[in-house]
């Protein structure tokens, strides 16, 4: 498989997971949250300073449809990670042909 094809296919899979699949993810508390609740230190958690951010808690502010709101937050988050990590790695790389 050509590298460009491979990368685009991988990106498509990642965006599908973040944008569509995540709607079907379990909404139960994760391991740490569950243990914190059970052993009695969950109340120590402070409110998140970014709780009012437009994408807080993987929901897009102003989008009412839950599927769309979560999917959009997932896709935007993924693209931001791609831009920051991908751009950073490109700047860091050893120059010249491999």
């Amino acid at each position: 498989m050509r590298q460009r094809t491979f990368l685009l296919a991988g990106l498509l899979v990642a965006l599908l997971i973040a944008g569509v699949g995540s709607y079907y993810a379990s909404s139960h508390p994760d391991g740490l949250e569950y243990v914190a609740e059970r052993t009695g230190f969950l109340d120590q958690a402070d409110e998140h300073p970014a709780a009012d951010s437009p994408l807080a808690d993987y929901q897009t502010k102003g989008v009412d449809n839950a599927r769309l709101s979560g999917g959009l937050a997932g896709v935007l988050g993924s693209l931001l990670v791609l831009a920051l990590a991908g751009g950073g790695f490109w700047l860091l790389r050893r120059r010249g042909p491999a």
Partner: protein, 228 residues
Amino acid sequence: MHVPDGFFDAPTSLATGAVAVAGVALALRGARRELDDRTAPMAGLVATFVFAGQMMNFPVGAGTSGHLIGGALAAVLAGPWTAVLALSVVLGVQSLLLADGGVTALGTNITLMGLVGVGTSWAVFVLLRRLLPARLGVVAPAAGVAAFVSVPTTAAVFALLFAVGGTAPVETWTVLTAMVGWHLVIGLGEALITGLVVASVVAVRPDLVYGARPLLAQRPLEIREVAA
């Protein structure tokens, strides 16, 4: 396993913040050796994939869920130093934009999931690669085992850190056994996802798998007879 603000006292958060800064600084140097024109785009994809994978919480019973951390996945696919940077970017975006994982706890989260998660994964993977036959087929299972070990190890380090600087007087043993117990189960999911994803990449483009490169180099060229 995203730690929110408030679980740890200020000295502990400052200390893990310093550890995270030092770790990322080392990773910025180390990753140069792992990244070139061909592998840098792959590394960007790996970071994106870890972000997406972390959104897919899977149920592990009794009203609990787990999700991929991605330390082993990123380390085997992109190299350990690059993996530390990938996890740091993912955790940073989650904390600052998506309100997932505290802001004063960002250093703790990078230390736990970035440094401990990636470090444990890479150590186990390299050990297994050395012990197992030098074949491409061992890469995905070794990545899976590394992923499995890394999750309860990270959970244990959280519990020990909580004993040192946690803000609630909960008995260390209670936190430790509960964290390690649940994360052994979550680790199975981490192992499965990591093994399958690494196996898929090894199947189509083994040259893009950082952890497979020493094995590719050893693979002898062969001339195959073609039936006329």
